[in-house]
């Protein structure tokens, strides 16, 4: 399940050559080990736990070149694995949530706002 989504303000950003890709683990993380890979390389391995009141667990940033990239998330303990293709031409924020066994991807051209 994937959909491109505007951030809280819906503004677009300019395109640069080497761009930051920010990945946020949002809803549905309960403390298990989570592995995130970008183009097959491990970008983050963490035990994520969602603060339900702000729907946010943790976030990290990687630098990627402009172009297509594949983000993969694996939660070994829950047998969950999902991947998501993004087209990066400028700063991009990707939110990942897990609902039951379904991974929900959200892409945004703006930082996510949490409340």
């Amino acid at each position: 399940m994937s959909h491109l989504e505007k951030g809280p303000h819906g503004a677009d950003r300019g395109i640069v050559g080497s761009v930051p890709l920010s990945i946020a683990l949002q809803d549905g993380f309960t403390g298990e080990e989570v592995v995130v890979r970008v183009d097959g390389d491990e970008a983050e391995r963490t035990e994520a736990r969602t603060a339900w009141e702000i729907s946010f667990a943790t976030s990290f940033e990687v630098e990627v070149s402009a172009g297509d990239h594949v983000i993969e998330i694996e939660i070994p303990h829950r047998g969950i694995q999902s991947e998501h293709r993004v087209e990066v031409h400028g700063p991009l924020w990707v939110g990942i949530s897990v609902q039951d066994a379904t991974v929900i991807w959200r892409d945004s051209f703006e930082p996510f706002g949490y409340l």
Partner: protein, 780 residues
């Protein structure tokens, strides 16, 4: 409050499903009014102005005064002869030497938990009209000390002011409300004191009818305190037409934080506010961590208390440590009481209007106000709209990702925030209102724990402000019982005030005045129902400031079986009924250890039996031979178990003195004593066996015995033993017994008055005299 009522809002009025305008104008739905309408001719040529709608919705309450629990009647009984020992019952020194009682004994039968049935308060929340009616009723039944239930029913309107439906949710002791349906009739009135609601619960073997008095139009209270960090301005209100992107029919008004929650069904008040929090409280980085906000809450919130209360603190600050991405947070997940504080960060993204926004200032004002309500919603335990099915919802909930609710993210819905605010009525969703208005209080109330153990004492009506305090305790290092060991507890009634208080000392020893509840973890609470009760002469006693009265109880077994038997964690609590109040004690947690041996497990098969319970409660029996055999076996097979002290004592006590046994011939069932040849038979004492067993129970290891019996019961037992010895003429051994008692109690630092009494006994006995206070029975 701003002076308007839900009925004044002009929205939601008359919108109850199934209602009609005609029906809603039926404002005086009392039988008397109806009768008059049908019997009295009415000249009505002049059109009357329509009466304003009177709502039936609101909080109703029914209060019942505490009534002493009647001694239960056992339906299956047999006539038996019990010869009781002479050392008193349950640690109270109320029995008379040589006393004989004949009683109706319940036949052996499986022991069942008995829910305590004293209803102290019932409430009803009727939600059928007014703003955003949920066509729901909910209520609670709170029993004194031992359990409560919360119920919720879906309603359909079936008459002008009558609603009925199915009870779809119960939380708590379902035995308190086995019914499955409810029919509610409201009698509306312009005078709140005359408004009533009558609920008929059905669907069980019997129906139950309750009449409630109207309390308020709101379902629950809610108190807000809003403070702000220096340099920030709180968003307390919003002009609803400030921003042009809005529903076309949205009323033009000044919406306040209070009004939002009033419309959600709360009686909103302010507990203070407008305090300015110094920015220094945020630390050198001037942004706020959750801990810093929690610290500020403790200092600046006038209502701070780590306890459940319908009260919330909201802070307007600059930025959280997370930076501009966090617009607000319910930050209080620190310590045992959560959801007491929220914060709004006005320098975050909520103050950065989107590029191209035509009304950036109005956008920011709206977003700040919206965020404040959103965070306050979290304090009510509301999840985000798309999270409803996550975690452990209170009932099965569907996600509401498109909901136009304070709990959704405006930019998460299809069409983004433009679409959201174009259709947003500044309200919570129906599912959220159902939760806020009708879910069990502990799920919603700020500061209430998520996973509160549903034990039987949380609703106890405690006496507040009384000079008298009641303490329940055990005399041992750790509150832990060995498997098979009877529970012995002590009561301490203390005058903690500054003036003398007159109390009836007999009440502490009268089991009619004492209610004791024990509860094993995950089991229902059980009320101790003793085998016997005593009518004692009142003993008015002046309790000086700091003075205390003491009594002992051995409540393991009663007429409903063994309340304390299986291994596990327990809690005990006692209430003492005085003339004008009930004193409720502390909760005494204790643990029953698992069996340590095969012998203990094997003996337990016969031990937790009614006969054994009666023998222990009455300090022995000459007729319950099977129970005596079990106790003998316990002594022999489990000599290291503290229960062996109790067994030895119970076996010894009837042998100390001559006693009588009522013998009834076979075939006497159903006949009165006068119709039979029943007669008393004199039973000779057995001083040798009694001495051997008493020494084993009380003297061989005085510390272990004092632990097993507790100080009060231990002294009573030793006194009784020494007294019997002295009556036999063996004052030398009696003096030794008393001396051992003195040594034990002195090492345990009991009151000097008690030690002085024992010393005097030792002195008298060493002189070959029976102490004066033993020469006549002073029990009353």
């Amino acid at each position: 409050m701003e002076g308007s009522t839900l009925a004044d809002e002009g929205r939601g009025s008359g919108s109850s499903p199934g209602s009609s305008p005609t029906e809603d104008v039926d404002v005086l739905d009392t039988p008397k009014a109806e009768d008059a309408a049908f019997t009295t001719p009415r000249p009505t040529p002049t059109p009357l102005a329509p009466l304003p709608l009177l709502n039936a919705s609101g909080l109703y309450r029914s209060q019942q005064r505490l009534q002493p629990l009647a001694h239960p009647v056992t339906t299956t009984t047999e006539l038996v002869d019990d010869e009781v020992g002479d050392a008193g019952t349950n640690g109270s020194s109320a029995a008379v030497d040589g006393d004989i009682s004949t009683s109706l004994r319940p036949l052996p039968q499986p022991f069942k938990p008995i829910p305590v049935r004293r209803i102290i308060a019932e409430d009803l929340r009727l939600d059928v009209d007014g703003l955003y009616p949920q066509m729901t009723a909910s209520g609670g039944i709170r029993t004194w000390l031992a359990g409560h239930i919360h119920w919720i029913a879906n309603l359909t309107q079936v008459g002008p002011s009558t609603y009925q439906g199915t009870i779809f949710y119960k939380n708590g002791d379902v035995n308190l409300l086995p019914h499955t349906s409810v029919r509610i009739t409201a009698s509306r009135s312009r005078f709140p004191g005359q408004q009533r609601a009558t609920a008929i619960f059905s669907g069980a073997s019997t129906t139950m009818t309750r009449t409630y008095a109207y309390v308020s139009r709101s379902f629950r209270p809610f108190e807000i305190e809003v403070d702000c960090v220096q340099g920030t301005v709180p968003a307390r209100n919003l002009e609803t037409h400030d921003h042009p992107n809005r529903p076309p029919n949205l009323p033009n008004e000044t919406l306040t934080l209070e009004r939002v929650f009033e419309r959600a069904g709360f009686d909103v008040s302010r507990s203070g506010g407008d305090s300015i929090i110094p920015l220094a409280a945020a630390g050198p980085n001037q942004t706020w961590s959750n801990q810093e906000m929690h610290d500020a809450m403790q200092v600046h919130w006038s209502r701070f208390a780590n306890k459940p209360q319908w009260s919330l603190w909201t802070l307007f600050a600059g930025l959280h440590d997370m930076g501009t991405n966090l617009g607000g947070i319910m930050f209080d997940s620190i310590g045992p009481n959560h959801r007491q504080g929220t914060a709004v960060f006005i320098d975050s993204f909520i103050s950065q209007a989107p590029a191209g926004e035509a009304n950036p200032a109005a956008w920011v004002r709206r977003m700040r106000f919206w965020t404040a309500v959103h965070e306050m919603g979290h304090a009510f335990n509301l999840a985000h709209s798309w999270q409803k099915s996550m975690g452990t919802p209170w009932v099965a909930l569907a996600n509401e990702p498109e909901a136009r609710s304070f709990m959704n993210y405006p930019y998460f819905v299809a069409g983004g925030q433009q679409a959201f605010f174009a259709d947003f009525d500044y309200r919570f969703s129906d599912a959220e209102l159902l939760f806020m208005r009708h879910a069990p209080e502990r799920f919603v109330q700020m500061g209430n724990a998520d996973w509160f153990d549903n034990h039987g004492f949380e609703q106890a009506a405690r006496q507040v402000g009384s000079a008298l305090t009641l303490e329940v305790r055990m005399h041992r290092d750790r509150p832990r019982l060995a498997f098979l060991e009877p529970l012995n507890i002590e009561l301490k009634l203390k005058n903690g005030g500054e003036a003398p208080v007159i109390v009836d000392a007999a009440r502490l020893r009268s089991l009619d005045s004492v209610t004791l509840i024990t509860k094993r973890e995950r089991d229902p609470a059980r009320q101790y129902l003793p085998f016997a009760r005593y009518c004692l002469t009142p003993q008015p006693t002046v309790l000086q400031p700091g003075e205390s009265l003491y009594a002992a109880l051995e409540p393991s077994a009663g007429i409903e079986g063994w309340d304390v038997s299986e291994p596990g964690r327990y809690v005990a609590q006692v209430a003492l009924h005085l003339d004008d109040r009930d004193l409720v004690s502390n909760e005494l947690p204790f643990r029953v250890a698992p069996p340590r041996s095969y012998d203990e497990q094997d003996v337990a098969q016969e031990y937790f039996d009614a006969d054994v319970g009666r023998i222990l409660a009455f300090d022995g029996s000459r007729v319950l031979t099977h129970g005596n055999d079990v106790l003998t076996e316990l002594r022999e097979r489990c000599p290291d178990n503290p229960a062996a002290f109790h067994a030895a004592h119970a076996l010894a006590a009837p042998l100390l003195r001559p006693s009588k046994v009522l013998t009834v011939p076979d075939g006497a069932e159903g006949r009165t004593l006068g119709e039979t040849t029943a007669e008393f038979q004199q039973m000779a004492p057995d001083p040798t066996a009694a001495r051997r067993l008493m020494d084993e129970a009380l003297i061989a290891d005085v510390d272990a015995s004092a632990d097993a019996f507790g100080h009060i019961a231990y002294k009573e037992h030793v006194d009784d033993y020494a007294r019997a010895l002295a009556e036999e003429g063996d004052t030398e051994h009696a003096a030794h017994v008393q001396d051992r008692l003195h040594t034990c109690l002195a090492a345990r630092q009991v009151l000097p008055r008690v030690l002085g009494e024992v010393s005097a006994h030792v002195h008298d006995l060493e002189q070959g005299n029976i102490p004066a206070d033993w020469r006549t029975d002073t029990a009353t």
